[in-house]
Symmetry: C2
Subunit: 357 residues, 2 copies
Amino acid sequence: MKHRNFKTVPRMIFGRGSFDQLDDVLTEERQKPDDFVVFLVDEVHKDKPLKERLPNQAQDLVIWLDVTDEPKTTYVDALTEQVQAFGKGKNPVSVVGIGGGSSLDIGKAVALLLTNPGGAASYQGWDLIKNPAVHHVGIPTISGTGAEASRTTVLTGPDKKLGMNSDHTVFDQIIMDPDLIAGVPKDQWFYTGMDCYIHNVEALNGTYINEFARAFGEKSSELCHQVFLEDHPDSDEKLMMASYMGGQSIAYSQVGACHALSYGLSYVMGYHHGIGNCIAFNALDDFYPEGVKTFRKMLDKHNITLPKNVCKDLTDAEMDKMIQVSSGMAPLWDNVYGPDWKEKVTPELLRSLYLKM
Amino acid sequence: MKHRNFKTVPRMIFGRGSFDQLDDVLTEERQKPDDFVVFLVDEVHKDKPLKERLPNQAQDLVIWLDVTDEPKTTYVDALTEQVQAFGKGKNPVSVVGIGGGSSLDIGKAVALLLTNPGGAASYQGWDLIKNPAVHHVGIPTISGTGAEASRTTVLTGPDKKLGMNSDHTVFDQIIMDPDLIAGVPKDQWFYTGMDCYIHNVEALNGTYINEFARAFGEKSSELCHQVFLEDHPDSDEKLMMASYMGGQSIAYSQVGACHALSYGLSYVMGYHHGIGNCIAFNALDDFYPEGVKTFRKMLDKHNITLPKNVCKDLTDAEMDKMIQVSSGMAPLWDNVYGPDWKEKVTPELLRSLYLKM
């Protein structure tokens, strides 16, 4: 059995105010006068102070990202073409993604597609990317997805929601500045943080885990407890570390039943990943009894009310599609049940779980 | 205030049996027929099964390392010249260090000196290395120093014991195979593991720490508790992760009083780093009361007896030299006491601590 040779983000800056060091990072990449940088920034920052702090120069391109929907392959392709048209045959020396999981994933995807022709949909899968990406930098402004640390960029394509998983996907540099996540609206802060909490529960209870992943997952989980059940003055720092360590943990583990079900909710009903996970997790007492109990305490403490009966108006065709998307997540179910998962993951089981949500 | 832009090992393999994947790693580096690899291996493995598992080819060079003494700049210079003579003007495509902290540090140092002329002593310090190193791989066969993760290579030079600290020092690849640390003699296993436990205590009680370093340091410390105070079937895995995470923690923290004193013991009396730390730590109740209490439980559980009164036969000149070496460790004392450390770290204090050991 071979163990994964795990590619990790090789350079990191952590600390309050470290966003201002982005300029130094980019200066190292800028060599010639016409070298340019592309900033892909969640449009939520368009009228915020962060806009004025972007170290963009006259020759650079700043694009404000619409992340109303989760990233689509078509959107990523369009952005890539926009960058190519701007550069007139020359690639940027760096692509900087700033925002939540969607913006970070778009940053990774555009950096990959600038050097790999043919459109995003053709690279959805594992290790399909051939050429190294353009230098790319990730700067989270909301924490929990682990996108800053991971080797995937999750995209919704014409026929599936699936990442471009590759060593080249990993950021060359991340900047973790806890100041940036201070002003996130509470619901979003909670749902995105729960992405981290939940994937730790899934990983730690899965069959894939090893001691590397366990060490990272346990610490990430402990930090989530501190952030969502206790009160700490440095909870922004802690959440940022929880997210990073949760992402590292996934190197040698996998998510599980909740993510598999949540992918169905996103694909058919358009639920964002964070809230989709919360809706699904709340129905998984039989899978993760302790984790779900603690999750409900977190909901209570922060007065979060989840939508109920979300599947009641679905057509049969929509429900069937959702079941199909969810049962297609083979590695996730394998992580839950082991190699015999197909005997367990029946349409009836999935339907009953969706109807509990 | 700027935060460090921290360079980390970009590729890692973790898992039992993963040593056998070294061949794949090197195959990626071997491009031309005369490309060769240098293996720098602790000579303890010379008559062990590991020797037969080295993936060396006819054109490669295997050097068995004498680590009786801790690595000296002169030894590293001689090894570099040996590699250069062997390569006849061509550098190896990879340098592989296999062993404990000394062997890993020698691997890093030789990889650096093959591309940076002038001898190791001229690079002892911070960020003096100009050129990227030859591709280098680290494979620990004893755990605790954190050398697999760190940006330093500690060397004893003509006038000081000090690392070559640089981003280029960091390994390009590490392989963490818990099988390899299974047969380590108990005393060495304990003393080297305590290097990790102690530097966590120093870092977590220091003034330099941030939440990044705290998260890694706390988890590393917890794993040390499990390894040295409890009984777990996977304690080799846990110790390997403790060592790696301890090394990561140092990115944004620093060791403290114990390491500062231990450097003196090594320089003047030749104590190896691990046992030197243990001797020094045992005298530091006033600095780290909880940590020292737990340390003594670990000593008891494993029936380790430390040497006593180690300084009783020192001449005045030797004691003065030891005090001078220790008080020269400015960043370590700064981490303990803050910027006013010079008022606190008097020769009298250091002498009294040495006499307690």
